[in-house]
Symmetry: C2
Amino acid sequence: MSRLAAALALTLLAAPALAQEAKRPTPAEVLKAAPAEHWRVPEPENLLYMTLPGGRVVIELAPQFAPNHVANIRVLAREGWYEGVMVVRVQDNYVTQWGWPEDRGEKPAKVGKLSLPPEFTVKGGAKSLPFAKLPDPDAYAPEVGAVGSFPAARDPASGEAWMAHCYGIVGVGRGLPLDSGSGAELYVVIGHSPRALDRVITLAGRVLKGMEHLAALPRGTGNLGFYEKPEQQAPITAVRLGSDVPEAEREPLQVLRSDSPTYAAWVEARRQRKDDFFILPAGRIDVCNAMPPVRRPPGS
Amino acid sequence: MSRLAAALALTLLAAPALAQEAKRPTPAEVLKAAPAEHWRVPEPENLLYMTLPGGRVVIELAPQFAPNHVANIRVLAREGWYEGVMVVRVQDNYVTQWGWPEDRGEKPAKVGKLSLPPEFTVKGGAKSLPFAKLPDPDAYAPEVGAVGSFPAARDPASGEAWMAHCYGIVGVGRGLPLDSGSGAELYVVIGHSPRALDRVITLAGRVLKGMEHLAALPRGTGNLGFYEKPEQQAPITAVRLGSDVPEAEREPLQVLRSDSPTYAAWVEARRQRKDDFFILPAGRIDVCNAMPPVRRPPGS
């Protein structure tokens, strides 16, 4: 290093603003430094394991937002109702949807329900749910943040809270009648988050692992992205609750606790990210770019 | 209809609020009613036609935002530089990227440039670019809207305008040096819009047709979604400017003019959408859900 360069480097290090920047950890460094107890192992009965031709998908169900639908999904999974379910619809920049193909007629359930009253919002949820609030404005809701593993919104005026339609969020397919969904037919968001669907559809979970097996499927060419021929449908060969999967076969997934200081620090590190590539910090973040990170624990 | 039902129907029709709702056109009806001159045919020299194994992709280039990069992309296309270019990277919920594979060594250009000064924002663009401003807040920018076919943001304080990183937007791949991009390597957003990239990467266009051929590709398993084996790469077998495509082979695409009353009416119809399915109007819209619609003209 030349003497001029060395002097310049010292000058830069001495500048308080730059020194602070130099100390700011990256989002990856924030996660690496997190104590183990800031990571949460989802309850096995809240996990849904699905096997597709491309690989395994793990969904965390959200009883905080849709208790009746989640309970029903558990019953349907245990009674084997999902056997023979297919991916029937893939609409680009929107959703991948799976259910019992219409051309096979209706499939009755033994114990599970095939229609349920909607759970579009949680009444009183704005107060009752632990909400890690984000600091930036949102196009769709007065306040946004995270509840557990899930992106969330709330309205202090109405007292309601609800999950936000972000990439990877799992929703309950329904027809026009509000109670025509049950969790028997589900979809996942595979494009820019269609937040206009917030509060008109029940949201039941989030894909923690295996999104690529749902998002990279061929798009359907029929209306709304439905496949026009049954042979285009991808089979879902197994749907099991995590608690029914032998322990040795479970995924050791952990989700960063949204009520931990590490989550707040990670959000801030992303908002203020500045490095050789990100030369200008956004200074902001939106709810769908701030979903609590998922990992396999180190060494697993 | 029973007399009671008929009376009820009359009562409902007489209620001013409901009558107004009944009159509100749907987004599809707004587009159907648009006069032909509210639709714009993109200039053929601003279109880039790419052929992938799955089908054809049409990109509209954005000289308003990146004049030097667009000019360079035209030169590279005309000199045949893109021959042999491959999809080298597909990262879920992020980008699909194509360029000259690194393992083949560097590919020199005859006339086109392989590095260019960045065009991250348009200085003075907040005033000089025709901006159809959206009414709702944005997480990332003081103001958002549309400029031509493109989602856009601006900052009245700095006077700058820039394109927003929405689904389907095409960016200029670069390394750490700010001038290491040129348009020789490009990417497209295939997930929730990564707006933190706004103003740190040059954006050069928008996919008008064929997103499914880029978004449904298998995800790469290497770091950042790069394919680990050359045989996983998808070839891009032809890259031509629209003006170099024989007229009979061109796509008859039209984009709704963002400076037309129809665009404003369509945005409002989407913001206030209320029907048997959308029981609760969002009352809001975000910039990446408000990109000017694309169509083939009726009868084509």
